[in-house]
Structures are given as C-alpha cells and as structure tokens.
C-alpha cells in the first residue's frame, strides 16, 4: 500500500513540477473551451446564410411574404426555426443572382441556394453535405404549407464541379497537410533533436545555422509537393476535381503557405527541450486552426467579429485562396494579397523565433 501511494505521489509530483505540462494539460483545454464557447455562444443559435435566386427579380419584391423575410434577414434575425431548448437556427435569406449564389456556395459563405421558379421552390445543394441536408429538412418542414411556399418544394442536387462538398474539402485538406507537415515535421522534429542533445552537437561544428533551417524548409516543401501531388492526383481520378484557375497561382499560395508554417514551426520550437511540452505547443497552434479555419466546415457560421479574426489565420488564408484557385478559377493577381501576407508572417515568425532560439 505504501509503495502504491508513493508511486501515485511520484506521478503527481512529476506532473505538477513540470509547469509546461500543467499549462497544456489544465489551462489549454480550459482556454480552448472558453474560445470555442464564445464562438458558439448560445449553443445552436446558428446563423445560416441562404442564397435566394428568382427567375423573375421583381417577383420577390412584389411578393409580400418573401419581401418581409428578406427585410428581416437584413436585420440579422432572419427566418428562425427551432426553439430555445433545442437551439435556434436563423436562416438569413440573401437575394442574389444565380452567378453570385454559385460564387457564395463555392466560397462556403452559403451551403444552399433556393431558386424560385414558376412559383415553386428549388433547393440546390450537395446531398453529401450533412449541414445543408439538415437545413433543407428544417426549411422544408417549416415552409411546407405556409403562406411563403404555397407551391411545390423540390430538391435539386448540386453536382456541378466546384459546388460539391468535396470541391470545398480538398483544397482545405491540402493546406491542412502543409500545416501538419511543417508543425510536426519541423517544430516537433527540432524539439526532439534538442531533447536528444543532437541540436547542440550539430551546432558545435562549423555547420551554418541558416543552412540547417533552410534545409528543413526545402525538405518539407519537397515532401509537401509530393503529398499535394498525390492528393490532387487521387481526387482528379476519383472525384473529378481539377484546378480551374492558374496553376502558378496555386504554386505561389502553396509555397507562401509553407513559408508561413515553417516560420511558425521555428518560432514554436525556439525554446523548449521537453518533447511533452513540444507536443502541447504544436497542438496549440494546430488545433484551433483545424477547427476554425474552415477546413471541414465553413467558418461563416461564426459570429462576424470572429470571422474577421479567422480570416487572417494563416491556414484560413491559405485554404481560402487555394480554394479560389481550385474552384473559382482565380489567377495570379487574385492571390497576391495572401501570398504577401503569408510570406510576411513566415519571415516575421522565423525572425522572432531565431532571436530567442535555444541552440544548446
């Protein structure tokens, strides 16, 4: 029994005598909960934007009920479905043209287009997108027989290239793999080398430190290209996905993304020699972006103030513009902004990281 208690006591001591671990194990989850809690305040109080298209533009403005709905949407209350217990969903109806609607869909601003044609409602969305399907079922149930939709309600699957969920998903996954590869490969790799005293052994030679770090970047970039190539190849054959915009624009965003994440990786790995702390550090960078940056689902469901921040995250920048090249056909001029911003981020993070870098 004494032995057992001693062992437990040692375990506790090991834990609390490592301040880094306390942070990652105790404070970090609390901070994540706080952050996400704010983002999803009032659980279920979701806002879904719906693109509303009519073949006859004046029809909507003439139709009293639809007009009211759009006015309510402009006040951000929208068409509310659900109840306080289950959480409410506010459907914001945005009257747009068909082309604008498709653009919104591609960017992930909306997941559904409602088209009014000959007084009947057509819901256009990718049936593989569970959120869109849920919206459809909710709206259909609520609208059926109401004065808004007196006529038939139809569902039209969106299977046009660029509007499917998979079109949205693949560019995001591509960017996420760059982030993961840099953060685990470079950041964790460097921390591991420091913990093994290999880093200090290497810098105790005439090895050039910038060459060492540049090699990390180039090796990761090479691996990244290979990974991206394989992913795109697979998706081309399996999902018929292709790059509709400029390939050079894609390459620029891809390289800039690698610069940004290498910089962040160097910064993250600059101090600790504890792989357990390193694990946490990498996660603190990777996890929020995985959740927030719109890789798996659109970040446009977050409150507006959060969206403004999320848009500036490196993974969001990279994913948004990779997506725009893939599905909206963006060219080089369209990606200058993210390329510059990502490169600046990378250079700034490396510069700060190197100033405080612990080589020994």
């Amino acid at each position: 029994m004494k032995q057992f208690l001693q062992l437990i006591s040692i375990n506790f001591k090991e834990f609390y005598r490592e301040p880094g671990i306390i942070f990652w194990a105790v404070l970090f989850p609390i901070l994540m909960a706080w952050g996400l809690g704010i983002a999803f305040k009032q659980k279920g109080d979701l806002v879904q934007k719906i693109a509303l298209v009519s073949d006859n533009e004046t029809w909507i403005t003439k139709n009293e009920n639809w007009n009211r709905l759009i006015e309510e949407s402009e006040n951000q209350s929208g068409f509310t479905i659900g109840n306080k217990k289950m959480g409410e969903t506010h459907y914001i109806m945005m009257s747009v043209s068909w082309n604008e609607a498709v653009q919104m869909l591609k960017k992930g601003v909306t997941e559904m287009i409602i088209k009014i044609e000959n007084d009947s409602l057509q819901f256009h969305f990718d049936p593989h997108n569970p959120e869109a399907e849920l919206s459809y079922l909710q709206l259909k149930a609520a609208l059926n027989g109401s004065d808004i939709a007196k006529n038939t309600i139809d569902f039209v699957p969106m299977e046009q290239k660029g509007t499917r969920y998979i079109d949205f998903l693949v560019p995001g996954l591509l960017c996420m793999s760059v982030m993961m590869s840099c953060m685990w490969g470079i950041s964790y790799g460097l921390i591991d080398k420091r913990s093994k005293k290999l880093l200090r052994r290497m810098v105790a030679t005439p090895m050039n430190k910038s060459t060492f770090l540049a090699a990390q970047f180039v090796a990761r970039l090479g691996l990244g290209f290979l990974e991206a190539f394989l992913l795109i190849l697979f998706c081309y054959f399996y999902f018929n996905i292709s790059i509709s915009g400029s390939i050079i624009a894609f390459l620029l965003v891809f390289i800039a993304g690698n610069i940004a994440f290498t910089g962040i990786a160097i910064f993250t790995s600059s101090r600790t020699a504890e792989t357990r702390v390193g694990n946490g550090l990498v996660n603190v960078v990777v996890m929020p972006m995985m959740i927030l940056s719109g890789i798996f689902f659109s970040y446009h469901n977050f409150p507006d103030w959060a969206v403004k921040i999320i848009e500036k995250l490196p993974l969001t920048l990279m994913a948004d513009y990779t997506r725009s090249v893939f599905i909206e056909g963006a060219g080089i001029a369209d990606v200058i902004y993210p390329v510059v911003l990502l490169t600046v981020m990378g250079v700034a993070f490396s510069a700060v990281g190197l100033r405080i870098y612990k080589w020994y």
């Binding site: 093994k196 290999l198 200090r200 052994r201 290497m202 105790a204 030679t205 005439p206 020994y360």
Partner: protein, 312 residues
C-alpha cells in the same frame, strides 16, 4: 608553464546556477599534446567546465583561450580546431553510421576518404550500413568519437566517453584514443569517474569536486603527494567499535559501514601495524570473517578529500 606551448588556458572561470556553484574559480593550463582527465563524481562540475571550453556555455566570470583564441571572437576557427563528444548525445535513430558520418563530414567539407579512415579507426566498418538505433552502447560511443575526430581536431573534448560501457567496449575506446595521441599529437580533455580510465590514458589527472580543483598531477604525483599509507579492510562477526583498534595514533582514518561489521582503516605503515592489529583482535576475541590489505588508490584519496566515492 610556458604559455607558448599552452593549447588551452582557463583563467578564473566561474559558472553559478540557481542553487549550485557548478564551477567555482578554476585556473588551468593544458599544453599541446597533453592528455588530461577531469575526475570527479556526478555534480562535481566537470561537464560544465568542459562545456565552457567547448563554447556551449558561457562563463559568468573569467576567460578561456584555446590556441590563444576565444569563442567570442573566433568561433569559426575554433569549431574547426575542436572536436568533441557530449554526454549522451542520441544521433538520428534511423540513419546509418555511414550517413551520420557523411552528414557531419559535410560540415567540415571532408571527403569520403576521411570517412573511410574514421570508420576504420573506430572499428565500425562492418556496421557502416546499420541504423544508429540498432547499435550497441559501445558502438554508439565509438560513433560519437568518430564524429569528434572527423576533422582531425587539435583539441579533443570528451565528456564521459565510456560511461555505461562494459570493460571490453571501454578498452576499445581507450585504444582509439591512444592511437590518436601517438599519430596526431592531439590535446585531450576527458571527463570520467573511472579512476582506471584516467590513469591509463592521461598524463595529468585533475580531481574536481563542488566546482573546484582539489588536486592535480600525474597519478604518481598524486599518490605520493596525497596518499601516505595503506588500507586494511575487514569484516567482523559482531558489530565493531572503533575502541577495539590498537595504537589509534597510527590510524589516519576509520570508515565503518552502516551495518557496523564492515570496516576500512587507513594506516601509515602496514607492516608494523598489522601484527599489532591481529594480536589485539585475538586477545579480545573478535572474530574476523574477512581481511584484505592494499595500497591506497585514487578512490581512497577521493574519499579522504571529499567523503564521497568517485563513482557515487
């Protein structure tokens, strides 16, 4: 000592950590081609001192010159001049011996011929394609040594190069070092807590504890200067009390183990003391279960100076 032939000069060097005075005012001059051993238990400050000479740590106070150069002003040249092996470096696990040597050789702009020479010297030719993770402890230490000598360094700094190795593996490392001394006139600082290693390899032994140099000299000098006397080790059936020892003035030191049956005493002259000792035990009816007499060693000297065993 003539400063012209001095390869390494350590002047009034201090390094304090939060609760420890790791190196507490050390002066040291090492001549070109000299092999010296820093001997001391764990925590004596050996590694800190060596790491300051290696340029890995900065002294709080004092100066270190290697070939009249300092790390602050001549880092590049010193990296070319110095070879080192750190305590417990773990190299890339899934990279082979040859690949590891090639990587480090590239830092010094060395060609494959030098790698072959080193592989031969460290006796890892057969293992050159093996991953580091699959090497034995001794082979890893030899690899670390191989990396340290790649650039034919004039100064070699080895931090516990044989700790944890079995006697055969240790002997192999020693042979390599002996060869280096003969062929390249390398200056060597080696930290160890093996007295045998220090006395076999090095001309000068420096005994350190608590950040200070306690004694230094050749093995002979140390023994003759600091050690006068011989050791009697015995154990008794009953618990032993110091008062049973005859002619207490002839005994320099008494160490009774906690079980109170194993005893070590240091006497000035064994030949005259031993008969007296045995007679007294016989007359008092003390039963000896073992008895051993020997010359004093560095370890005994160490215990005398610090109250600690060398490899404690």
């Amino acid at each position: 000592m003539d400063s012209k032939t001095a390869m390494i000069e350590v002047r009034e060097v201090r390094k304090y950590f939060k609760h420890v005075k790791a190196v507490d005012g050390i002066d040291l001059t090492i001549k070109k081609g000299e092999f010296i051993a820093l001997l001391g238990p764990n925590g004596a400050g050996k590694t800190t001192l060596v790491e300051m000479i290696e340029g890995i740590q900065k002294p709080d106070h004092g100066e270190i010159f290697i070939d009249n150069k300092t790390w602050k002003k001549n880092e590049k040249e010193l990296h070319q001049l110095v070879g080192l092996s750190l305590q417990e470096t773990r190299f890339f696990e899934k990279i082979s011996v040859l690949e590891t040597l090639r990587l480090f050789a590239s830092f010094y702009n060395l060609d494959d011929q030098r790698i072959d020479e080193v592989l031969k010297l460290i006796n890892l030719e057969e293992k050159k394609d093996a991953w580091v993770v699959n090497l034995s402890g001794g082979q890893r230490q030899r690899l670390a040594l191989g990396i340290a000598i790649l650039n034919k360094p004039e100064v070699l700094l080895l931090d516990e190069p044989t700790t944890g190795l079995d006697p055969t593996a240790r002997r192999e490392v020693w042979d390599i070092l002996k060869k280096l001394k003969k062929e390249l006139n390398t200056t060597l600082i080696l930290t160890t807590h093996y007295m045998e290693e220090a006395s076999y390899l090095c001309e000068r032994i420096i005994i350190m504890d608590s950040g200070k140099i306690l004694a230094q000299g050749t093995l002979k000098e140390l023994l003759s200067k600091h050690i006068k006397g011989e050791v009697i080790m015995f154990s008794t059936q009953e618990k032993f009390d110091e008062k049973h020892l005859p002619s207490r003035e002839k005994v320099h030191n008494v160490m009774i183990e906690p079980n109170q049956t194993e005893v070590e005493i240091l006497v000035e002259d064994l030949v005259s003391y031993l008969p007296e000792f045995l007679n007294k035990f016989q007359s008092e009816g003390i039963n000896l279960t073992s008895l051993e007499c020997r010359k004093m060693t560095l370890d005994d000297l160490f215990i005398n100076m610090t109250g600690k065993h060398l490899n404690a």
